[in-house]
């Protein structure tokens, strides 16, 4: 039946094979040709933005992420040494022989000329503390070295050149690429039997990551708890009242983030408004003022407030689409207020909760400024550490690796969310 109508429409054609247009070209080709102009035009419309994003956003981010594995500095600064070290077996327990030191002298001579040996020193210092000064010292004196054998001369400059650990580090990082930054970003290091966790008192990034996830979850949950009733009111009040409320919700958006965070400092600090009020009311003694800032509490309170609109708005737009007749129907069918809410209204708002939770959680997990200002030491996030490595310690490789870990974490959460709730269930409105 379908065949006859298809044949009738497309003229004479064999029963099998693709559908043909009137001029004999396959219908799909014809269709693609007809739509090509539209597609081209659409592409041209988005081209400026696409280019802008690629040049100013994707490329720098790609470059930055690449730094997390890039390690060219060692093979470029010490090319001969790297080759010579291939022959040395770190398990022998002895420093390398004269051949390596000869290569090192040649490399250092050039590097010191170019003044790049200090950079290499600080790079390797991330891995084994002390190398930085070793290179700086040797770089100064390598010029004055006499003709061969070089090993004793280097040992004379610094005994550490005889240390197997130093050479092990140089050999380990002699490749153009390294996993070292990533190991460091999850508190691991190269041990005798390959990668292993650092001693417990040196682990910082796993703790920070875990705290970031935990606090982001707490913030997301408090945003749901605080935002749900507000969104409900917004969606159900008469227009005039809900407009006023909507302006109050949006007001924080129009205020600088810094101003909002600073005002929380005014409120939360030990001599701040809240503590003063509590002391005046006699609820706490003057000596027992609450520590509301420079810890997790400060971060949670301030960030919940700042991220709240991102929960309320998607919730509101979903609630707005829920017909009031659902709840009425539930009541007419015999459900009391709570049953009608919990069995009928609430399940229909879950897509809004999902959308809001994803937004708030992803924003929270990468938040920087607020934890920096009110978080103290126990309330800072992984992003504060990334910023520290970018601007203070200048260990960009580690910063990049931490960034990749954070990005991967967000993707994992997104994937989990998709598996549990389903991304199709997310509704930002309409």
């Amino acid at each position: 039946m379908t065949d006859t109508t298809a044949n009738g429409a497309a003229g004479s054609q064999p029963d099998s094979g693709p559908m043909l247009a009137a001029d004999g070209t396959p219908l799909k080709v014809s269709l693609a040709r007809a739509l090509r102009r539209q597609k081209l035009r659409a592409l041209m419309l988005i081209a400026p933005l696409l280019l802008f994003i690629v040049i100013t956003f994707l490329a720098p981010i790609g470059d930055m992420l690449f730094r997390s594995v890039e390690n060219n500095i060692v093979p470029e600064t010490l090319p001969r040494t790297v080759v010579a070290l291939e022959q040395w077996d770190p398990e022998s327990g002895e420093a390398p022989g004269e051949a390596v030191f000869e290569a090192l002298q040649a490399d250092l001579l050039i590097a010191a000329e170019k003044k790049i040996h200090t950079r290499l020193g600080s790079r390797l210092n991330y891995e084994t503390p002390g190398i930085s000064s070793l290179f700086r010292k040797s770089g100064r004196r390598v010029d004055d070295m006499e003709q061969g054998p070089y090993k004793p001369q280097f040992l004379k400059i610094d005994e550490d050149w005889g240390d197997v650990e130093i050479w092990r580090t140089i050999k380990r990082y002699s490749g153009a690429y390294t996993a070292g930054y990533f190991l460091a970003s999850v508190d691991m290091e190269y041990g005798a039997d390959g990668p292993q966790l650092k001693p417990e008192d040196e682990r910082i990034y796993l703790t920070l990551l875990w705290r970031t996830i935990l606090l982001s979850t707490v913030i997301t949950v408090s945003c749901i708890l605080l935002g749900y009733p507000v969104a409900f009111l917004l969606a159900n009040l008469p227009l005039r009242t809900s407009n006023v409320l909507m302006i109050l919700v949006l007001l924080p958006f129009w205020t600088s983030l810094l101003v909002r965070t600073s005002s929380w400092i005014v409120l939360l600090q030990q001599q701040g408004v809240i503590n003063d009020t509590l002391v005046t009311l006699g609820l706490v003694g003057d000596g027992g003022r609450l520590e509301l800032m420079h810890n997790e509490v400060g971060t949670i309170v301030a960030m919940t407030h700042i991220l709240l609109p991102f929960m309320i708005l998607p919730l509101y737009s979903v609630m707005k689409t829920i017909s009031p007749s659902y709840v009425r129907a539930a009541k007419s069918l015999g459900a009391n207020d709570w049953t009608a809410f919990w069995r009928i209204y609430f399940p229909n708002t879950v897509p809004g909760i999902g959308a809001g939770a994803v937004l708030v959680f992803i924003l929270a997990i990468g938040y920087y400024i607020t934890p920096e200002l009110v978080g103290g030491t126990s309330g800072i996030f992984i992003s504060n550490r990334i910023a520290y490595h970018i601007s203070s310690s200048l260990n960009w490789g580690l910063a990049a690796a931490l960034g990749v870990v954070l990005l991967a974490l967000i993707l994992v959460f997104y994937w989990l969310y998709d598996r549990i709730v389903g991304v199709d269930n997310v509704k930002f409105g309409g």
Binding site: S323, K331, G334, N348
Partner: protein, 364 residues
Amino acid sequence: MADGAADEYIVRFENVQKSYDGETLVVKNLNLNVEAGEFLTMLGPSGSGKTTCLMMLAGFEPATHGEIYLKETPINKVPPHKRGIGMVFQNYALFPHMTVAENLAFPLQVRGMNKADAETKVKRALEMVQLPQMSGRRPAQLSGGQQQRVAVARALVFEPDLVLMDEPLGALDKNLREEMQFEIKHIHENLGVSVVYVTHDQSEALTMSNRIAVFDDGIIQQLAAPEVLYEKPDNAFVAQFIGENNKLLGTVKSVSDGVAKVDLEGGGTVEALAIKCGAAGERTMLSIRPERVLIAQEDMPNRLTGKVVELIYLGDHIRCRMEVAASKEFVVKVPNSHAHAALRVGEETAIGWVTEDCRALDVR
């Protein structure tokens, strides 16, 4: 129950008034009884207060004044979920996150019925609306007519004595609407449940109801069986609202024995039943149905001359618009029979009617 009269009425509105803003009354002093097992329709234009009445009965709007009784129990203070009234909503209001079977089981679950009994009832209800194979579907996967049926089944599955329907067929296309009208009517007849139905569609009301309450301006204009409403409208609004109506304006000359002599504005004097026309000297509107006007009959008590303006051939009858006594919108339905008069546009012809078919009403 004791005196026997009690169980005749399932619902009684007593002097009910409703205002939303404290300035205007949407429902003005409503008194209405719904008999047990009756199909009563509230019919009226939008804003006439009919839906408000339904919402007060369902418990979603409080009455500003007066009392509503359900089987002699005042229910003003009873919350909606304790009233035990089934309701079908305008947009069906099927719960989108539940399957059809879950939707139907909902009222049984909240009443604490055990699973097996609930399943049996759900199955039976779905069979009643001829959708037994749809139980696993979501509402979004159903057509409009199927959703409508599920909504009806859900309102009936917990076996209420009273079901309210708020323009339930408004979203359906014409054919489906007519089909559903008969289906709902049959369900009503089979179950013996009382139905209060709200609509603005008069043909729907005429098709389905035992009685119709015509609402306008917050007042019941007339409460009667469909044929009475059509043939014996009490006032000009009902005459105009129900069916097609010819109106002729005039002044009452005299009234005797329930018959008024009326001087028409365009000249001529006719007789009509004095229903609501006031005393001599007052203005009145004459109402006469198009199919009751006869053409070219000699022995009529009321005779006028009409000039044919337009003829429309409709198969079973011919619709003839003519100019009669200052009215250019006077319509006559001429039956398509061998004997019918040959009419031509522009010609004048004699028309007439019997006095009983013409009603002298108020002027609006």
